[in-house]
Symmetry: C2
Amino acid sequence: MSTSRVRLSPEERRLQLLDLGARLFATRSVEEISIDVLAEEAGVSRGLLYHYFGGKQDFREAVIRHAVEDLVEQTAPPATGDPLERLATSVGVYVDYVIANLTGYRSLVRAAAGGSEDLRAIYEEARSALTDRIFREDSLGDHLHDDAATRLVIRGWSALVEEMVLTWAADPSVMSREALVDTLVGALPALTGVVSGDRPG
Amino acid sequence: MSTSRVRLSPEERRLQLLDLGARLFATRSVEEISIDVLAEEAGVSRGLLYHYFGGKQDFREAVIRHAVEDLVEQTAPPATGDPLERLATSVGVYVDYVIANLTGYRSLVRAAAGGSEDLRAIYEEARSALTDRIFREDSLGDHLHDDAATRLVIRGWSALVEEMVLTWAADPSVMSREALVDTLVGALPALTGVVSGDRPG
């Protein structure tokens, strides 16, 4: 921690500490993310962490929120290209993120599903951000109607993606990463095609 | 409780008590299912319930297992008919079950996801039973290969169904029950079509 002594603003210092904390997320469950663990792992003083983050609970939430924002940012599709190829890039990064952060990510999904209201809020925000982007980016071009029925199907698709990636990560011998990404991407127009079949015209 | 005094065997009596307990599941979360609540609601003595079920935890698990077995039994598709129509009957009953038992079912999904190992085991057993039946019943006829890749997709479809039905139940104005069932049923061949597109031949 003493190689470069660049003077950081409090905001930059807080961000640096959050980055360190988010790295714990790769191999620790949400319950294991704590000021004590980061202090020990990264050689940061507990006093400093309390100074920047207040209580233990605030620290945990800030770290998980940061890790999840990182996921949303990383999975941003490229600005141009074929819609489904852009979606494939985004889904591919999501798959890689889950593999790289399996312990933390799986525990977040479980904690959010299991009744922790604060974690559920963080998780739902990320999910909404990812879903809204699918409409904003118009990944499927003319195939995607932005209506309540399609949003319900996209929500179902998100659950399918999460379940398939977490199950696959536990046993990747089932199919290659490329076949997984292809299946997840192909599932979206297949599903929205089913619901649009319901419409007149 | 004194209208008919038919003499029941211990096994029949236990089943009768489980049926009473499973009714609590309609409007109570898994945490709220207890010997005390059943004793009060159904006018059964706590002593009798302890006699038949041992401890509080054993009672809760027995009731939830019974409710879930009931779900699996009720959703059995008709023995004959067009494969997708048989699946539609099954999915329709599932939708109705979730609506009728929304509080209990949603709390079970959350508790199972959230780290309660015993409840997760019950939930996973039910999920496997429902998934295995899709292959056994051959709902999709020749379209359904029983291989690891297809099983992964079916698991994804299960997650999609659960998410869509629970989300829809919170706001059924999005689409009719019939449109929901049609979408869920149509999603299965659409999804398995995507994964079989991955195969040679």
